[in-house]
């Protein structure tokens, strides 16, 4: 069992004085609900099996 002791996480922080510029960049490229609708997750059985076979063929 891995007994590595994790260091406390450093706080991830935006540097003071840069906030407006950072927010401006973020708001230019934000995602809305419609942006999250991507490629359909429904596929034919043959496609699913072909993709499983691709993983089987992978060299370990």
């Amino acid at each position: 069992m891995n007994m590595t002791i994790n260091k406390p996480r450093e706080s991830t922080i935006v540097l003071k004085g840069m906030t407006k510029a950072f927010i401006k960049e973020l708001t230019k490229q934000h995602m809305t609900k419609s942006d999250f609708l991507g490629t359909s997750k429904i596929v034919s059985s043959s496609t699913m099996e072909q993709m499983k076979k691709m993983c089987e063929d992978d060299d370990n």
Binding site: E10, I13, Q29, M31, K33, F36, T47, C55
Partner: protein, 201 residues
Amino acid sequence: MQEFVYTELARAKISQNVLRKFNCGHSDFNDYLVEDAVDKSADGMGVTYVLVDKAECENGTISTIFAFATIQAMSLHYYLDEPSDTKLYSIPCVEIKYFAIPKRFQKVNAWSLDATGKYYSTIFFEWLLEELYRISTSVIGFQMIFLRANENGEALYRRKKFIDASAYIIPYEQDDALGKCTPMCLLIGDNIENIFGLESY
């Protein structure tokens, strides 16, 4: 017809053989999936989701992992630019600590999934973003997705509108492997104008 689904790893009860079969070409990621992911989840150190065949998931017979992602709650802290305001503010986030797909799918066009020829990595990551959006709006609220991109993933995240936050985020220590990665952020939500409590930009 069949369907892909992201499902939580510990609940999926996937055999060790199937976990060991996953190979993204990076031993750190492969080993994390096999040896650490379930325990870390139990310790609240990140929950791992795996992309699998939905029918196999429902039957408890998962044979293949097409991708995995480990996410953890966090917050991004910031000060306002006004000198009179010394309060520390925060925005709730989720961090993608790991995202990996099998080596066999990397940099390969997924013509069988998408007529535009997107890579498998793009499609699997889009499905992850869709799942994160669902989580952010119906499980636990967050308004930003954060990750530290290595050289393999950075192009993908830029395509999906993540911004490079190197100029704004305090980096990890130089001797930390993650210090070599690029911090990146994506703001999500339909009503963002007052998300920081500031005037709209």
